[in-house]
């Protein structure tokens, strides 16, 4: 039997160590998983963690994958801090992609500086619009935002699939469900020659810094933290809970929408039936792995991006299914949640 003894105050050391322990345990469990799947351990390790980042191109790809994860992860972590559970970032990302791409396609072949900013604006607004629905329902009708934001993700995916098969389909595309390729003025500029690393990565960094300042230094950030820790104390101190919910959901939706636009106008360059390998869901793990702190989320985003890259390399080199990535991510989150107990409790074996 395990018994827990509450610590007088949360352990700071464990706050730093728990994610590291969780990472270690995930690695261990991953090795066991590879052993079960009959993959040589050393080779798997190399394919997953070394090969993807051993080249300049590989490192740039890490940035490409990490950018959306970090952006959305930071935005979600602000919400989670305030106990607002927006888990529909994937849908908001899709809507941002759709709206941004639609603007880009509207200005097809227009070679002007304003095309890309307009697309970004449309992406942000699209994501916000999608997040506004759960916000409205939560503040007005008291509907749980977990379920509504998630349901809207399925709706968004179906909407995308409808649009690329219908209204936004490439007229010269032999009926394939995909849009035209965006023209150059509608594509994000690359910030590293010979790679796919785009402007979005720099913006993601900016978002990390902005979120850090917001949470630690502004009244709004303080209000969000209070709302998460003790909502009634927030109301008593004069923080309007509904306004906070609106802010958190709109911010999360806007950032996710922007990330969706970055995918469409960056690595992909057109609208497809799927524009994200589940970034919106993985960002939830990223937020928790980063301990809901912007800087932590930054590193967590890099780790998760590596798991995507590693999964792809492993698929090519070792013929492993891509699903291994999902299992890895789930395990990491489990271990993380499990080791979190060390922060607030001392764990002992034996009876009380």
């Amino acid at each position: 039997m395990i018994t827990l003894h509450r610590r007088a105050s949360p352990s700071r050391t464990m706050g730093w160590f728990a994610p590291v322990i969780a990472l270690g345990l995930t690695l261990l469990a991953g090795l066991i998983l590879f052993a079960v799947l009959g993959v040589p351990l050393l080779k798997a390790f190399q394919a997953f963690f070394i090969d993807p980042v051993s080249t300049r191109y590989g490192l740039a790809e890490l940035g490409v994958k990490a950018a959306p994860l970090i952006m959305i992860g930071v935005a979600l972590s602000i919400g989670f801090r305030a106990q607002v559970w927006n888990i529909g970032a994937e849908g908001q990302l899709i809507l941002g992609g759709i709206c941004g791409a639609a603007v880009g396609l509207y200005f097809y072949e227009v070679d002007a500086w304003y095309v890309l900013p307009l697309m970004m604006l449309a992406g942000v607004l699209g994501g916000m619009l999608w997040a506004a629905i759960p916000a409205l329902l939560r503040t007005r009708f008291n509907v749980n935002e977990i379920l509504t934001s998630l349901m809207l993700t399925y709706v968004a995916a179906l909407l995308l699939s409808y649009l690329v098969a219908g209204p936004l389909r490439d007229p010269d595309g032999y009926n394939f469900p995909e849009s035209r390729l965006l023209h150059d003025a509608a594509l994000l500029p690359r910030i590293l020659d010979g790679t796919r690393l785009h402007l979005g990565a720099a913006i993601a960094l900016g978002i990390v810094v902005a979120a850090w300042v917001l949470l630690s230094r502004t009244l709004l950030g303080f209000a969000l933290r209070v709302n998460g820790a003790a909502p009634r104390a927030g109301t008593h101190a004069g923080f309007n809970q509904n306004r906070l919910i609106w802010f958190v959901l709109l911010a999360g939706g806007g950032v996710a929408g922007l990330a969706g636009l970055f995918e469409v106008a960056g690595p992909i360059g057109q609208l497809l039936t799927t524009i994200s390998p589940g970034y919106g869901f993985t960002a939830i793990i990223v937020a928790f792995l980063g301990r809901l702190h912007p800087v932590g989320v930054f590193f967590a985003g890099l780790i998760m991006a590596l798991s995507y890259l590693g999964g792809e390399t492993a698929q090519i080199d070792l013929n492993l299914p891509l699903a291994v990535t999902g299992v890895f991510q789930g395990m990491l989150l489990f271990f993380l949640l499990a080791t979190d107990v060390l922060i607030n409790y001392r764990v002992r074996w034996g009876r009380r």
């Binding site: 827990l4 329902l137 009708f141 809207l152 179906l158 409808y162 219908g166 949640l337």
Partner: protein, 306 residues
């Protein structure tokens, strides 16, 4: 025409059955004060495990059992994390879903594209009765099982002492603990029951509803099941009603075009999700009603420090 109605009703039953199982399990779990958001993950894992078992063993019984056990295994993981290690129920539930989606895809990678003839009809002789025979008797054991389980759960919760204890733990774990009830044990059992039911729901999906394995084949039904529990204000009887309502809506999407709606299939497919949102709005608008019926200690961690 009669034939069409009967066929439609039969498809509604098949569409509703997995929802009944999944939401009934979650209802019992929530009644004990535990919010498990991992239903989708447990369903998918149950689906792939039962399909794999049937494929390799050939026994449908073993398949159902495997689905059940797989759901319970994931629920046990959830219970250990949230009840023993005091992790956040919301976060752990999300993790369970993400993990379940990945795990089921991994297990099922070699099973994609294999077909299976489905579960046998329980009462084939009676099913031959003209007109109503097929509607009343033309189903497999899991369909009848779902009705029996709803009735049994309803009886258990309202009429038995164990059911009373379960409800009391969900209402106030501190009071239940003070009276000497084992809060954690009750919650473990309720969570495991929820896992078993979600696993059964998954087994029904991959063995009867569409007898094959497709990645992510539950398509959000786990989440709809969660919404159904709210819709049913935690009453098993209303849950049955809700599940059949949703079954009907998802059938509408299949038969929409046949019935003459000129709407793209993707938009029709949005119906269950949009309905879920609408239903949640209607039921949540009266905040007092939810608060009166929802288990008061739902989602709250319990640590017996006294």
């Amino acid at each position: 025409m009669n034939e069409t109605i009967i066929l439609t009703l039969i498809t509604i039953i098949t569409a509703a059955t997995p929802l009944v199982y999944a939401s009934l399990g979650e209802l019992v779990t929530e009644r004990s004060g535990v919010l498990n958001l991992g239903v989708e993950g447990m369903m998918l894992t149950g689906a792939v495990c039962s399909f794999a078992t049937v494929h390799y063993s050939g026994s449908a019984t073993l398949g159902v059992l495997a689905g059940c056990l797989a759901g319970m295994a994931l629920a046990l993981l959830f219970a250990f994390l949230t009840l023993t290690l005091q992790s956040s129920q919301v976060a752990t539930g999300l993790a369970l879903t993400i993990f379940g989606v990945g795990l089921s895809a991994l297990i099922g990678q070699s099973l994609v594209g294999i077909a299976f003839e489905g579960l046998p009809v329980l009462m084939p002789e009676l099913a031959r009765i003209p007109a109503i025979g097929k509607l009343l008797f033309g189903h497999d054991i899991l369909v009848y099982g779902s009705f029996a389980l709803v009735a049994a759960t309803s009886w258990f919760l309202s009429r038995t002492r164990a059911g009373l204890v379960l409800r009391s733990v969900g209402d106030s774990h501190d009071a239940a603990h003070a009276l000497g009830y084992h809060v954690i044990r009750v919650r473990y059992l309720a969570t495991l029951f929820g896992g078993a039911c979600a696993g059964l729901a998954g087994a029904y999906l991959s063995m009867a509803y569409t007898p094959m394995w497709v990645e992510n084949m539950s398509a959000g039904r786990g989440w709809i099941a969660l919404a159904l529990v709210v819709f049913a204000v935690w009453q098993p009887g209303r849950l049955l009603l809700g599940a059949y309502l949703f079954g009907g809506i998802s059938i509408l999407q299949l038969h929409g075009q046949a019935l003459g709606f000129q709407v793209p299939s993707q938009l029709m497919s949005m119906l269950p999700y949009l309905t879920t949102i609408l239903v949640l709005v209607l039921i949540s608008r009266d905040g007092g009603r939810i608060r009166r019926n929802a288990p008061a200690s739902i989602g709250k961690a319990f640590h017996p420090t006294t």
